[in-house]
């Protein structure tokens, strides 16, 4: 066991999978010699060489498009998109190509590509280094969307993603890249995709969240405890496929739901969670569902602290569902 950051855990998973399977290749901007702008791919170039760790030209559609071709041919490419904000030049390749290859070829041409990308706010990155656009991708059938919130899950889920037969968008909450540290086994393990995690147990109310927001929820839960409210924090870990049973079970237990995500509120993935609860657990609810999310504005620069959900806003939502 070693204490790793989320970033080091990602790095450990990449090394582990590249050693285990020579079909795994990494490609992207600055991922080679430089080890990635966040250092997620540090050491890979030295260990695996320029054949398996490719510093690509600056072109996201090229990175994803060629990764698809490699996957069709039998490799296991793990492209990096430097910031999720820069994924859109590859949107067509992801949405129309990557996600649909298996289906449109009657299962003949699966494309097991794992796109890694740092995402989310909290680093003062302004409009273009902060976005949480998971909802666009979760809306795309054929693409799995996985988001870890701990070092343990980062390593285990990334390993699972790379071994998965389907394309996976693996979103890394960059705000907690270096701030969240925990023990991670040195040995090989995987964490199954599609299974939520109860990050904290509680009976009074549930908070459904993922990524960096899990830690905001935990902070709020700690504060709520002072008032005697036992908050349960459910870390979804995977948006597609979604562990619907875990969501419903928690609501049945607590009868109160707060849905927390940092993306703009409208059409965000939290709306899907709210709909699920409304459709299948309405009779258990003691209070209306409350969403805490980013506002419906572009991600701001200096007003990031106003924009991003924080423990104060989450606590207010908890109060609302508790005192309905």
């Amino acid at each position: 066991m070693a204490i790793l950051t989320v970033l080091q855990a990602v790095n450990a998973a990449l090394k582990q999978e590249m050693r285990r399977d020579d079909r795994v290749v990494v490609l992207g901007e600055d991922v080679g010699k430089n080890g990635g702008v966040f250092r997620a791919t540090e050491g890979l170039y030295d260990e695996f060489g320029s054949d398996r760790v490719l510093d690509t030209p600056l072109a996201e559609s090229g990175i994803i498009g060629t990764a698809i071709g490699m996957a069709l041919y039998g490799l296991r490419p793990v492209p990096e998109i430097q910031f999720l904000d820069f994924i859109y030049p590859a949107f067509d390749q992801i949405v129309n190509e990557l996600a649909k290859f298996r289906y449109r070829s009657g299962g003949q041409y699966p494309a097991p590509v794992v796109i890694r990308s740092p995402y989310g706010g909290g680093i003062r990155g302004g409009h273009y280094h902060s976005q949480s656009s998971e909802a666009y991708f979760a809306h795309t059938p054929g693409l799995k969307v996985v988001i870890p919130s701990t070092p343990y899950d980062a390593k285990g889920l990334l390993a699972s993603a790379i071994r998965d037969e389907d394309p996976v968008l693996f979103l890394e909450p960059k705000r907690i890249y270096r701030t969240v540290k925990a023990e991670v086994p040195d040995t090989e393990y995987t964490v199954p995709i599609g299974v939520a995690r109860i990050a904290r147990e509680g009976r009074s109310c549930s908070i459904f969240c993922y990524g960096a927001m899990v830690h905001v929820a935990l902070e709020a839960a700690e504060k709520a405890k002072e008032k005697g409210t036992e908050v349960e924090v459910v870390d979804l870990r995977s948006l597609v496929p979604l562990d619907e049973e875990a969501v419903l079970a928690s609501v049945r237990k607590t009868g109160r739901a707060v849905v927390l995500y940092e993306a703009p509120r409208t059409g965000g993935f939290g709306a899907e969670i709210s709909a699920l609860i409304a459709e299948r657990a309405l009779e258990y609810l003691e209070a209306p569902i409350v969403r805490v999310a980013g506002f419906d504005t572009p991600f701001p620069y200096t007003l990031e602290h106003v924009y991003m959900p924080d423990a104060r806003r989450v606590l207010a939502a908890v109060d609302r569902v508790m005192n309905f």
Partner: protein, 360 residues
């Protein structure tokens, strides 16, 4: 016609041999020469001051043009005030050439209530409609089709306006670059692409970016001219761009100007270039410093001297310091402003969110 695998010759002016005996000819009137020189010194000074602010945590990010001042200023001066500039990360100096006040420059980086952009963008994303300096995103190459479209629109309106489309070498790999070049060629749009080939896109060297011999050659495939200029020779940058701008204005279509230069610093304040490149090469390029080279050229012609230099440096430094002092004294942006400008009129839903954010 240049070949894709053979590097075309560099256009140079500063080092061109003078006619023996004859007094060295000047390609430009003295005030223009001094404007170029002062423009370069101004950016160098502003950059170093702003990078310091970043190191002190007073601004969040900064990208300098150090070593690339000739490319920025030489090309920038070649456009007229009515022309539109579509900048990338390193062309803030062009805004200053167009009389963009230093206060606004600093305020954009600080992002408080003195900022025209209301603290919404990261530093180095200056824009000001009054000087036709268009807002850019951080997303590489996206501005290039915009520049072509604006140029097409200017021609449609019969305005004698040329658009300057700025990019780095890395940007030439993006689809938007190729799309822009193709549209520019097909419509013979009055646009001049200026590529500052500073050899690196963060850590990725130019050889990993393209297999063609440089950037200028790419224009041939789109049916127009590409020129390769010494990007550390401010006169070459000015004259080559000027020619391209004049040609575009006269209906001669687009040009791609490649200014071959070198990014002497890190990519930005968050980069450490010693991880991926040999810094001895950087030192070599420092010896070809565009400012020093031009200063020697001016001094040899009696157009500049040490006292002038000292006076000008002091003037710029104190102007920057005063701008910083004034800007930093301004209050932070009003939190409610975050909800403005999303749409021309704020929808009810957003008004409700604003009330929620302000705790009303």
């Amino acid at each position: 016609m240049s070949s894709p695998t053979e590097v075309s010759p560099l256009y140079q002016v500063l080092d061109a041999p003078a006619e023996p005996g004859a007094p060295p000819a000047s390609p430009l009137p003295t005030p223009d020469l001094l404007r170029l020189y002062r423009g370069m010194v101004r950016i160098r000074t502003v950059d170093s001051r702003m990078l310091n602010l970043q190191r002190q945590g007073r601004i969040g990010f900064y990208g300098t043009a150090t070593g690339e001042e000739a490319a920025v200023v030489g090309s920038g001066c070649a456009f007229e005030p009515r022309d539109w500039i579509f900048p990338a990360l390193r062309q803030g100096g062009i805004a200053l050439l167009r009389d963009y006040p230093l206060d606004l420059y600093v305020a954009q980086c600080v992002g408080n209530s003195a900022d025209l952009l209301r603290g919404r963008q990261m530093p180095c994303h200056y824009s000001d409609r009054r000087i036709h300096f268009v807002s850019w995103s951080s997303v590489i190459a996206t501005q290039l089709p915009h520049a072509v479209g604006a140029a097409m629109a200017a021609r449609l309106r019969r305005d004698p306006v040329v658009c300057g489309a700025y990019l780095g070498d890395g940007a030439t790999s993006e689809g938007d670059f190729h799309v822009a070049m193709n549209f520019a060629g097909v419509y013979r749009a009055p646009v001049v692409f200026v590529c500052q080939n500073n050899q690196f896109a963060i850590s990725v060297p130019i050889e990993r970016q393209t297999a063609s011999a440089g950037i200028a050659v790419k224009a041939a495939a789109y049916g127009f001219e590409g020129v390769r200029v010494d990007g550390n020779d401010v006169l070459a940058c000015y004259l080559a761009t000027r020619k391209a701008v004049d040609k575009a204005r006269a209906g001669g279509g687009p040009t791609l100007v490649e200014a071959v230069t070198y990014r002497r610093g890190g990519h930005s304040s968050s980069d450490d270039p010693s991880r991926y490149r040999d810094e001895r090469v950087t030192e070599e390029w420092a010896r070809r410093d565009p400012i020093l080279r031009f200063r020697r050229w001016l001094e040899a012609r009696g157009l500049w001297n040490d006292p002038e230099e000292e006076r000008f440096q002091t003037e710029v430094k104190s102007a920057v310091d005063e701008a910083i002092r004034r800007v930093e004294a301004a209050p932070p942006v009003d939190p409610g402003s975050m909800f403005e400008d999303v749409f021309a009129e704020m929808p009810a839903q957003l008004r409700a969110q604003r009330r929620e954010a302000l705790g009303e």
